[in-house]
Amino acid sequence: MRRIDRHRRVIATGVALALLAAVSAAGYSVATRRRAAMQAAAEAARHALREARAEDAMTWASDQLRLAERASADALTRQRIEETRLWPIPASDEVVAAWAAAEQAATLARVFAHDRRLAAVADADQRISEARAAVSWSGALADNIHLGPKRRFLAQAKQALSEAEVYRGAGALVAASDRARQAADLATQVRELAADIAQRYADADNIARWQRWQRETIEWSRREGRAAIVVVKDAHTMTLYVRGEAVKRYSVELGFNWIVDKLQEGDGATPEGRYRVVKRMDNLSSEYYKALLIDYPNADDRAEFSGFRRRGELPPGARIGGLIEIHGSGGREQDWTNGCVAVTNAEMDEIYPRVTVGTPVTIIGSDSYGPIAEFANRQRRDAGHRRP
């Protein structure tokens, strides 16, 4: 009987131990699986966070990144609580869910950062491209319309554009956009300055006066049966009339600041008015091949100069200037003189014999509402649209 009892005890103990081993193995298996699940979820969230940071979410989606970091810290805390608990089988569901929330927040931060960065890149590139076009256009304008000291706006625009390109290269996209916008604004100021200068070409009274001078010069040539010259500054043409008929039209080069009317010595402007040839100079006495000296300044020019001086609109020591000629040495394809009208030497050879002392030389800004007038008016309209 005793032997049977002992036998039963041994069997019962064995069964109990086997059960315990089975339960332990099952528990170990569950714990291992849960720990692995937590680790996998943690790794996924950390990977998402790394990707968000690589996308520079700190700059482009800082709020979303902070949320993701907070969620990640919360998940880590939950995991450590489970890992340090006395009970060996962790409750992993909440931890995995916390890591999943962190991963989701990090993914959102990455997507936001990616989209915003791309938008900022596109914005910076677009603004730089616009600024490049504006600066280039204004540069071409400033080459044709002398801005004097106000040319510094163009220089500043170029510098701002250059800075924008440096910022773009360094990945400072917001600064790049800002500087490009400044460059474009400065270029616009250059255009507006040029438009102010060009505005006189859109003035109906000016155009009518210039057309009258041209008409009267041609009439004089017809009536007197003699040669006369009309220079149209905006078209860069000089027409030789004989007995009222246009014999030949030449392309001419003018003063570097031809667009304005000459007022004083050194302003680089070509004068506008009705002049006459006062001296013919052959290639021995002229610095620029042959030359026809005109009577600038005439009475109108002197009266205008005096008016400016009286009003204090001239710098001290300003002089009215002179020595305005039609001369050779041209053909340089740019306005390079200090106010004279230049043609090629071959053309001068054609003109010279047909002109005598006393030949009228009428210089006008324009004979029609031309492209300069159109530019000035368009700029004025655009400026009106920009004003609030």
Binding site: R53, M58, E69, S72, A73, L76, T77, Q79, R80, I81, E83, T84, R85, L86, A142, H146, G148, P149, R151, R152, L154, A155, Q156, K158, Q159, A160, L161, S162, E163, V166, Y167, A170, A172, A175, R179, F256, N257, G266, G268, R332, W336, T337, N338
Partner: protein
Amino acid sequence: MRVRAGLMMLVLGLAVTLVACATPPTADIDAVKTSISGAEAAGAADYAADSLKAAQDAQAALDAELKAQEGNWMKSYDKAKTLAAAAKAAGEKATTDATAGKEKAKADAAQGIADAKAALTAAQELLAKAPKGKGTAADLAAMKTDLETAATTITEAEAALGSVKYLDAKAKAASAKAAADKVTADVEAAKAAKKK
């Protein structure tokens, strides 16, 4: 027998009490905070962003460990101490990296300004010797304006350098140098064209 059992209970109770009453490594935690604050003050956010982020991550791991231990009946701060040491080291590395990055940015900006000044001087000297006369007056005036603007930009770059805005200083210096180099190239081209 009873005495022995009582003693065992007492030893066990003491051990449990000692473990349960373990305190967080406050000095280590403070050292981590100081280390990371130092990195931020050294400009790590701008000049060593990755190192700072690594230090902040290490601090987050430490915080998680501390919170986990707070809720435990049987507290152990051994791992927290290890994490604190790692976070402190990461903070110190961020400080070192920030200082080095800042110095490099400063040196780059200063070099950029020196280069721009040299380019400006060269352009000014060349422009002063450029042939003057009919046909060049407008170009010379335009180049002079460009150089005056470049000089102003260099002054702005120096101000930015003084205000620790190194990227601004570098950008301004680079644009001033480009403007001065352009004038030099234009004058050289004009001289070469004249020789032909």
